[in-house]
């Protein structure tokens, strides 16, 4: 049955070469923890991606209850955490996942740096990776405001003050992010849009480029 469905699709789209290319490519010995235990450092990138997948899923589910509005945001987060079954787990996964992504990505960056893997011909992939790093920090900063509790609000106030201190464009940058003079209703909807649509969109594009380049160039050789 499954075979028939596969054949039906394959006849029309010729998918075998694409998937065999991924499935059959050789993984070298030096990244395999079964041969050298120290190769576990090569797992950090994969784990980062794994947490990102969980972040996307749990975030999608959280928006079923969350309302990005200063009157209802806190109420809805309180409701989903205390009244909805497993709400505390789903929100917990998103909350701790945000920290784990940063930790794993930091370790992955250090691994790539200390193995010198960013050198020719992999410069572009390093740049894309650093951009992913920035996007993740942006996701962390915008997501922190969304529950609209005390620490969320005042952390954002401080963050935007820092943005404002930049020369020339500071005031403009702050107004753009806050959506006006006050950090309030418009800031929350803006941060929500950035957190849920703009940055994840950028992230998916960058991740696609990151993986395409890895597949094209292969993992950097042993030291």
């Amino acid at each position: 049955m499954l075979q028939k469905i596969y054949d039906w699709v394959d006849e029309r789209l010729d998918i075998t070469p694409m998937w065999r290319d991924i499935a059959d490519h050789e993984v070298p010995e030096h990244v395999n923890p079964a041969h050298h235990f120290s190769a576990f450092v090569y797992c950090f990138g994969g784990l980062t991606f794994f947490v990102v997948v969980i972040q996307i899923l749990s975030g999608m589910f959280l928006t079923m209850y969350y309302v990005p509005d200063i009157i209802n945001a806190y109420e809805s987060v309180y409701f989903l955490q205390h009244e909805v079954t497993h709400g505390v787990i789903v929100r917990g996964m998103h909350h701790w996942g945000a920290s784990l992504v940063i930790v794993m990505m930091f370790l992955h960056t250090l691994r790539v740096f200390f193995t010198g893997s960013y050198k020719k011909p992999r410069e572009l992939n390093w740049v894309v990776g650093v951009l992913i790093f920035f996007v993740m920090l942006g996701l962390g900063f915008t997501g922190y405001l969304l529950p609209w509790d005390m620490k969320a609000y005042f952390a954002t106030v401080v963050g935007l003050e820092i943005a404002e201190s930049a020369p020339v464009i500071g005031g403009f940058a702050k107004a753009l992010l806050a959506g006006g003079e006050i950090i309030g209703a418009q800031t929350l909807t803006r941060f929500f849009a950035i957190h849920v649509f703009f940055l994840p969109g950028a992230l998916l594009g960058l991740l696609g480029a990151h993986f395409y380049m890895i597949r094209k160039q292969g993992i950097s050789g042993p030291l």
Partner: protein
Amino acid sequence: MSEKEHKVSRRQFLTYSLVGVGGFMAASAISPMVRFALDPALEAGGESDYVAVTTVDQLSEEPQRFDFQVEVVDAWYTSNQPRSAWIYKEGDEIIALSPQCTHLGCTVNWNANEDHPNQFYCPCHDGRFEKSGQNVANTPPTRPLDIYEMEVRDGTVYLGKTIERKTV
């Protein structure tokens, strides 16, 4: 080492393990989320609150319309919503019918159409119901009007939730 000597080749075994581990990861990560999303559908219906609507001595054999308000808790939002009921006495029994037509939810009226006296009439698609709430055959509705859960205490009529009926 030839792979054909074994019933399950090394590759097949690894593939099964791979699918198993992947399934474990997907299930343990996604199952709390799915339960979270399904919560409103799985939540047991809460105890219904009874609301005082009218007193017994105001009722007669003729259905009368009574409007009342119920407090509706919608997650973190609580509001008062208007409801109404057609209430009448039949001997000692008190019957409270929902005014929602069981066809498409328009509001029915008692004795509103001159051609069909002493019936509930729905203006949307000419649906009709007997006084008991029984739907008149060959009109659009397919089941009787819903009936309210009712309680009488100290001469006051309290109404709860509506109950669907297959027949009167």
